[in-house]
Amino acid sequence: MADNQKSNLAVLTNGIIKENPVLVLVLGTCPTLAVTTMAVNGIGMGIAATLVLICSNIVISLLKKVIPDSVRIPCYIVVIASFVTVVQFLVKAFAPDLDKALGVFLPLIVVNCIILGRAEMFANKNSVLKSALDGLGMGIGFTLALLCMGSIRELIGNGTWMGINVTANLWDPIIVFLLAPGGFLVFGSLIALVNHLTKGKGVQRKEFGCAGCPSAAVCKAARKEG
């Protein structure tokens, strides 16, 4: 358990840069692509997921000795789903616009592999404080990546940033960036940029599959057979 020797600060910053869940580990692709049409939506999604991530990491770390190993995944899912429901209602009550913008992706935080992945890889092996910090760091990393995607797509696709007019009057915005193809294109280019800046060492996941996801073993079997 090398993680135990890490200082609290290292645990916190780990998720923001070194192991950024979106741009380095390439997890949680669905919400990353779907909600980043506007920078504000990206931040909203990021904060909602961060809340769930911190709370579920704390509870799972507290319960790590109680939960039997053979049924741990269903237990994690129950904990995560409960916090997602809480966050869902908080957003509905205090930010109805955000609720509309995120739509089905708000309840779908349950199946976001970042959260299940952190529960499996970090929270069930580490202390409560470290797990909370890890959740916070990963959440900030997720939020920053979404903000980055959202800013690029909003600026090119709509000519605005955070709703403020930037280039909308200068030239016609390229609307396709707000649509599905733009999401794929911007995400692919961002990962290529990280690859380029770090000379290919940055992006840890070279292939899509389920590495880092709790069902990784099954994924490998699937790929071998396929």
Partner: protein, 198 residues
Amino acid sequence: MKEFAMIIVGAVLVNNYVLSKFLGICPFLGVSKKLDSAFGMSLAVIFVMTLATAVTWPIQRGILDPNGLRYLQTVVFILVIAALVQLIETAMKKYLPALHQALGIYLPLITTNCAVLGVTILNIDENYTYAQSIVNAIGSGLGFMLAMVLFSGVRSRVEAAGDRIPKAFQGIPITLVAAAIVSVSFMGFSGIVDGLFK
């Protein structure tokens, strides 16, 4: 009949789950390298989506709604889907070993596939009737299959390019860019439902 046809065409071509709603991206990019595994995965997804809808719709309308328990939707649905997938796998292993050989390896992946949870929640949000929900689930699954099969063809050409791809783009980035281009082709279908049926 017309409304069912509209739902199917809409789910397969216009609001394709993968290419325009961004649900189920992980398996779409992960298992699309070879045509036969893409096909097997999509069959398993169609199967589980339809069954999950068939089970969750009555639970929502029969148990959760009348008792004021709507807030339990997310928790109940994900648990039902997880249990259902486990049950299908066990039953298939015992009674349909040949089918299990073909689809079994994909089944556990599907529990955390957001397309399955997504379709059950969207069916409730859209206020579909039971029959409409089932048709929508089948249509969404078919749309997933169409996207997977088409993309596996594109993928094999991309893989063949090998080292001619710029270094920074090798691996995940070029896959995403290829997905963007496939997704552009699906934009051509927007408005087709109105054109065909109204």
